[in-house]
Amino acid sequence: MPGRAAAERIRKAIALVNSVADGAGDEDITPTEIAESIRDCLELREIDDIANVRRYLGEALDAVSDGMPADFVAMTLYAALGSLREGSPAG
């Protein structure tokens, strides 16, 4: 299925962010780890086949760098996941 690997990586990034937001209390997650998981998503070439995914991931990475709230980062990642699901080919 196209975009499956990307969806898995985005879900991983979302889960990390949600761990911070929900205060799961069973691990310390640093912004660096979240940024790394988003960069893992950006490394996949398949995201270029689908409109807006790279853009949203870039915005999420910027949000982490800027210290934006976890919910804002999560929302942007959900937007990337949503675009991936819609799967509209770029261009």
Binding site: K12, N18, D26, D71, F72, M75
Partner: protein, 216 residues
């Protein structure tokens, strides 16, 4: 508002006992776990006064400004999404909890609650400037989140019983952060077992194991 205390071997059984007494269904009540031990669970089940909730939700009695702002925003968002649903503020809930109810809202919950979680993130971003630091809004659809928390607590208690019998640690299925948190909270008072998490998101799992006696 009528309420009843329920007792049973598990939280579910205790809730059922109270529901029978109240002659109500699960979707119309608020459940508070009073105590939960290996032998017995005690819950307080309160019937939700929909009329009062709707009145506070409609802005007639803005008991809580932040909750009202959040309720209005979520209602507007759902309208834009073309979802017909009622949004109410869960009475006396801390943190502020919005309940969304209506027909055929499965799509709003999504796969493993993913859409619901996304909706909650959007809600918190929208309401963010009205909230104090660290304060959050919880969004629940048809009490899905509450039911999941009860379910995972049941799983935790079962796992704890098994660990005590066998002395072996048990690794549970991968769960979401709020579910893992519910398990840690359910077991933190148990002197015989301990809980921790292993693995990486989204495959992170809770391990329930025997508590090692403190070295003398």
């Amino acid at each position: 508002m009528s309420s009843a205390e329920g007792r049973g071997r598990t939280v579910d059984e205790a809730v059922d006992a109270a529901l029978i007494e109240l002659k109500e269904s699960r979707r119309n009540v608020d459940i508070k776990v009073i105590s939960e031990t290996q032998e017995e669970a005690v819950v307080e089940v309160t019937v939700i006064d929909h009329a009062a909730a709707a009145a506070s939700g409609s802005g007639a009695v803005p008991a809580n400004g932040k909750a009202e702002v959040a309720r209005g925003l979520v209602e507007g968002l759902l309208k834009h999404m073309g979802v017909r649903a009622q949004v109410t503020v869960r009475p006396s809930s801390e943190p502020i909890t919005l309940d969304i109810s209506g027909r055929d809202l499965g799509a709003l919950i999504g796969w493993r609650g993913e859409t619901l979680r996304a909706l909650q993130s959007v809600t918190n971003v929208m309401v963010g400037r009205h909230l104090a630091e660290g304060e959050r809004i919880i969004v629940d659809v048809e009490r899905y989140r509450q039911r999941r928390e009860h379910t995972v607590r049941e799983i935790a208690m079962r796992a704890a019983r098994q660990v005590k019998m066998t002395g072996d640690a048990i690794t549970l299925d991968a769960m979401q952060p709020f579910e893992r948190r519910a398990i840690h909270l359910a077991l933190e008072g148990d002197p015989d077992v301990t809980s921790g998490s292993v693995g990486e998101e989204p495959e992170r799992r809770v391990v329930v194991g025997p508590r090692k006696p403190a070295a003398e």
